[in-house]
């Protein structure tokens, strides 16, 4: 039963693509169920080919689902798509505004398409440029902007008609550290304004920092869905004790001891290792989202990042 209070409700959503003769059809998304609450940042994590983008394409009307149903903002996807389109914003993985139009004209065109009243367009475009720190590039063609600026302007264009739900597909992929950090601040600000954010990313630190809840998708199926804290709590990984030791020559070394055999055993082990050294620092490391991801998917994070073309997007600090 779909309700008006949820931003997205999905039941049994499935997408099957026909393949060449003799090959089994490809189940890109295989009967997923999930709910996104109003005003939350919902992370959709998974390796390449997991079905993240296909799910977004189905929810935004670009691809027809093979089976299942969904409602967005209380509107049925199958029968009320044009009403849904007016109330959502979509930022695809590639920045896709018009190279030939200026930053300002791109924003105005986005508003024209969505029927923003004429008298509101110019002030809103100026305000968005200012908010995304692009006022100086107001009259520069989109083609002449840096990668980070293009990304920021693409997000600004998706917000031009004031959507209450926004889809961000890999927003920081390929960006330098500062641009990625700036974009993450913008995403956090959206949540503060009450906009629901559906975020796909393969940067686990980014997801951990930004998302209220996370779904992990593997081969078209959701293998876990919960808050970051709950996902960590449920994982089989145990905390690790990390000790920084200094020897007589002043050399510092770091030792890590797992607590899977019991904390008392681990502490005894730490004390044994510390004999003859000065203890500089002792920390307890909780399992990270990366540990959760690896234990749930069996995939290495490095392999997933490599698939996406390196570690662009910088670290998620900030």
């Amino acid at each position: 039963m779909f309700t008006m209070t949820e931003a997205i409700q999905v039941e049994g959503l499935t997408k099957v693509y026909a393949t060449s003769k003799g090959h089994a059809p490809l189940r890109a998304v295989d009967g997923v169920d999930f709910t996104v609450h109003q005003g939350e940042v919902f992370g959709f994590l998974g390796p390449n080919g997991a079905g993240k983008t296909t799910t977004i394409r189905m929810l935004t009307g670009l691809t027809r689902p093979t089976a299942g149903r969904a409602s967005l903002l209380g509107l049925d996807l199958a029968s009320e798509l044009s009403h849904i389109k007016k109330r959502i914003g979509v930022v695809p993985e590639a920045s896709n505004l018009y190279d030939e139009l200026t930053a300002f004209d791109n924003l105005v065109f986005a508003m024209q398409l969505y029927g923003v009243p004429r008298q509101e367009r110019n002030p809103r475009a100026e305000a968005l440029l200012e908010r995304f720190r692009l006022s100086e590039k107001r009259d520069a063609p989109f083609a002449k902007l840096s990668r980070g600026m293009k990304r920021a302007l693409t997000i600004a264009a998706a917000l031009a008609h004031r959507p209450t739900l926004i889809f961000l597909d890999e927003p920081t992929t390929g960006l330098d550290v500062m641009s990625a950090r700036s974009l993450r601040q913008m995403i956090a600000a959206l949540r503060d304004e009450g906009v629901t954010v559906f975020l796909t990313t393969h940067y686990l630190e980014e997801a951990e920092r930004l998302c209220d809840r996370i779904a992990i998708l593997v081969k078209g199926r959701i293998v876990a869905l919960d808050s970051v804290a709950q996902l960590k709590a449920h994982t089989q990984e145990s905390p690790v004790i990390e000790v920084s030791l200094r020897d007589t020559s002043g050399l510092i070394q770091v030792q890590r001891v797992e607590t899977s055999g019991g904390v008392d055993v681990a502490v005894r082990q730490v004390m044994q290792q510390a004999e003859g050294y000065e203890i500089m620092k002792i920390n307890t490391l909780q399992p990270s989202l990366e540990d959760v991801f690896v234990s749930l998917t069996g995939l290495s994070v490095e392999a997933m990042l490599a698939e996406k073309g390196g570690k662009g997007g910088g670290n998620a600090s900030g």
């Binding site: 935004t60 670009l62 044009s82 896709n96 018009y98 139009l101 065109f109 024209q112 398409l113």
Partner: protein, 243 residues
């Protein structure tokens, strides 16, 4: 929903005109290319230059509407910006109609320049303005729809250019622009009847040089049929490619 579609059509056309069409190279190419062809023909076969005007106008509309139209959609599909339009609250046929409107507006603008020059040189006596107006509009619609179909049928820009030229150049020589249909072999006359340019040239000839209303009505009707068929094919093909 209809209001959304009409608004979308209008602004998509406006955006295309601003982003792609009204650029100096396009304008000069759109005007000079048909003139160059006609001039080359006139030098080789001096005679009644006024008789070449309908062909010149038809060629100007054909190249003015279809040259950019044939690559705009495939270009936007490559850059991902077509997806922006598909995410907007505008239905696919309306989005494509906006694309057509952009191509038509540009084609008709450059044709107007050529028409004014032609009428200034040869005079406007005997012109049937209603048939002229309808011929220009329906020709622009049919050729723009042809360009749109070419653009959605391929995946690369060079393929679009190749396919557009593969269709346009034979049509130029078979459509009665340089050689009257009646002087062609019978089988070529039959082939010519499957080409929209033939009807465009014939209708413009009736408008500028006189002829029967029945001929003009048939020509205009056929241009309308080409417009509808090519537009429906383009919508169907684009819907299938984007799924």
């Amino acid at each position: 929903m209809l209001v959304d579609d009409l608004r979308g059509m209008f602004y998509i056309a406006l955006k295309d005109l601003k982003a792609y069409y009204f650029k100096p190279p396009n304008i000069s190419w759109g005007i000079l290319f048909p003139f160059a062809f006609i001039l080359a023909f006139a030098i080789r076969n001096p005679g009644d230059l006024r008789a070449l005007v309908p062909g010149l106008l038809a060629l100007t509309i054909l190249f003015g509407t279809s040259s950019m139209e044939a690559i705009v959609i495939v270009f936007e599909r490559r850059t991902g910006s077509l997806e922006r339009l598909m995410l907007a609250p505008v239905r696919l046929p309306a989005m494509l109609a906006g694309k057509l409107l952009g191509g038509m507006t540009f084609g008709l603008t450059v044709t107007l320049v050529v028409l004014v020059v032609s009428l200034a040189v040869f005079g406007a006596a005997g012109t049937n303005w209603l048939i002229l107006f309808l011929s220009l509009i329906l020709s622009a619609t049919a050729f723009s729809a042809l360009g749109a179909y070419v653009s959605v049928a391929v995946r690369e820009i060079f393929e679009a250019q190749t396919l557009a030229n593969f269709i346009r150049f034979p049509m130029m020589f078979l459509g009665g622009v340089f050689v009257p249909l009646a002087s062609m072999p019978a089988w070529l006359q039959i082939v010519a009847r499957f080409l929209p340019l033939t009807y465009s040239v014939e209708a413009l000839r009736v408008a500028l040089s006189g002829g029967s209303w029945a001929t003009a009505a048939l020509d205009l009707g056929m241009l309308a049929v080409f417009s509808v068929v090519l537009f429906v094919l383009a919508v169907y093909t684009l819907a299938r490619h984007t799924e």
